[in-house]
Chain length 336, copies 2
DNA sequence: TTGTAAGCGTTATCAC
DNA sequence: GTGATAACGCTTACAA
């Protein structure tokens, strides 16, 4: 079935190509008889418009770009991204947009992707995940006036449209929960220093301690990465301290799993001797032993807000705020 | 920075727009002086071609489509897809293509996606995952001569380009391993009847039994779905049989986890009293207790083959075979 | 060698 | 109401 053009439909219905276009766009000022003739031909031959031509003409591609800057390998193992991608596809799809996903392996390839996706006008707008504290893309995007939205944070906070978890609230929520359970020595096993998500959860942790009148013990806060290994090693170290913690807030579920493993190896009973809470409510939380309590960040809500904010920009509809915060909630399981 | 067109570059360099195009395309027959003038202007003003116009003109968009027919919700929880998507992005990117991902929620929306992606010419080719035994899209795609590749299987096997795991081999590998470990009563907890992946692994399971001279016991083969719950319930049932199995081949890691849970609840020691093997080597396999042995399907290799086969079709280069099989390997852990 | 001009398939602005 | 016609930005004969 060779694809038909409006021109061919026009010839087949003995009208001008412009009329075919009008019929398709639902222009009211077209004779009912002609309209029917055209519709019949279209129905019979199955016309579908060429998106490329439409894009060129309308300056819109109907495609959103999602750029994450992790290597494909890291991406593959991270349930956050599959959930995010799936949700964005869903919400973009509902609004009539497609999703083009790109991964910026290294810093130097970021520029390439930026050129490839944005300046070539392949996409109508961009969703950027996890910007760096100093992200060289922001000024350029802003300068071009290109529609984009951040999932995460960028300073100054009003410079760009952004959607973020309430990471401070999440850190506080986990810590408060442990305090309510009677814990006094609570450690925070963090990821890298300087990453907003880690710093914010740390801030929330501090707030909760302060509000409960507990003092902040620097030896109970350890910075590292997002790996299971980091959780394991750090837990081992913490347990060798003279006054080891009785509860752990781990910056990520994987880190929490590592901590759990270290504690179990020492025969500690969980959650009696050690309570552990992670973040993200990863799919595997319910399958580990004991099932891991976790602060669930609402990835679907994050995706929905980001997609909506982006599409509103593209369609030049009003966007009420620059920054949106999506609340978290605690999923209680057996580990704490 | 308003985007520049070739026309504007042409004016700035006092040449014709055609010459600018030639310079950009590396056409040899252009005067070195003019070429330098054009290049200087491009360098200075930062020209990037408009992909939409190029698409229209060249009839190529440089975008591959990936269509999975699961709901976004299912997608989100499945590590197979995030790995697959990440790998396709990687390999497509290396060949200069972008990836557009769509999820076909329900059967009725499949047609919509098909129209939206393919007939609108938004993508140059399609990667389809998990076709049904009778998939109405195949005849249409074939009829249109549209480049596409299947991840999975379709009958007759030579009708389409397809890339698949060696599921029969995987089923056999798991079963043989258990037989080598001394097991004689081995159950196969399957997914839905009629799904190629389940049927193939079943076939491999049978082959291994036969080759070892063990007889096939129908009461040890149970069909269901891919859920943890199915694994749990089925395991419970199997354990209540008069001669319960001592080893389990579970069609999916999640199903294996469910089986493991049922056995642990009954206080069985693993792998002594019950050995369990899953499929896919999901990220969580190493975090469950005991760590789950699993037959790893090589998703990256699958993605690589599929992407390459598709791109070769698009670029009208030769594709040596219609069907490609990617081997599996067993990842031994503590559960078997 | 270079420029002119004809498309690619739309949409939108003209006259009629 | 309807049909020419001019873009949209690019590639590529064809002329010069």
């Amino acid at each position: 079935m060779p694809e038909l053009t409006q021109n061919q439909i026009a010839k087949l219905s003995r009208v001008s190509q412009a009329t075919v276009s009008r019929v398709l766009r639902g222009d009211p000022r077209v004779n009912e008889e002609l309209r029917q003739r055209v519709l019949a031909v279209i129905e019979k031959h199955g016309y579908v418009p060429d998106a490329r031509a439409q894009s060129l003409r309308s300056q819109r591609t109907g495609i959103l770009g999602l750029v994450v800057h992790r290597s494909p390998r890291q991406l593959a193992r991270d349930p956050f991204f599959s959930t995010l991608i799936a949700a964005i596809i869903e919400f973009a799809g509902k609004a009539g947009y497609h999703l083009c996903v790109d991964a910026a392996r290294a810093v130097q390839s970021r520029r390439a992707i930026y050129e490839d996706l944005l300046r070539t006008r392949r996409v109508d707008g961009l969703i950027l995940v996890e910007p760096q504290t100093r992200d060289e893309r922001m000024p350029r995007l802003l300068e071009e006036g290109f529609p984009f939205v951040l999932i995460g944070r960028y300073e100054p906070i009003d410079a760009v449209y952004s959607v973020d978890n309430d990471n401070i609230g999440a850190g506080r929520m986990a810590t408060e929960y442990l305090i309510r359970k009677g814990h006094r020595r609570i450690a925070y096993i963090s990821g890298p220093r300087g990453l907003f998500v880690c710093e914010d959860r740390h801030a929330g942790y501090q707030q909760a301690l302060k509000e409960a009148g507990l003092c902040y013990a620097p030896e109970l806060v350890i910075w590292g990465d997002f790996s299971e290994e980091h959780g394991y090693r750090t837990m081992t170290r913490l347990l060798s301290q003279s006054a080891p913690p009785t509860a752990i807030v781990a910056v990520d579920d994987l880190v929490a799993i590592g901590a759990l493993r270290a504690a179990k190896e020492r025969g500690m009973s969980i959650p009696q001797q050690l309570a552990v809470i992670g973040f993200n409510d990863s799919p595997f939380c319910q399958y580990v032993d004991p099932p891991l309590s976790s602060v669930a960040v609402d990835i679907r809500a994050l995706a929905q807000m980001a997609t909506e904010v982006l599409i509103r920009q593209i369609e030049e509809r009003e966007v009420p705020q620059r920054r949106y915060i999506v609340p978290c909630h605690l999923v209680e399981r057996a580990s704490a």
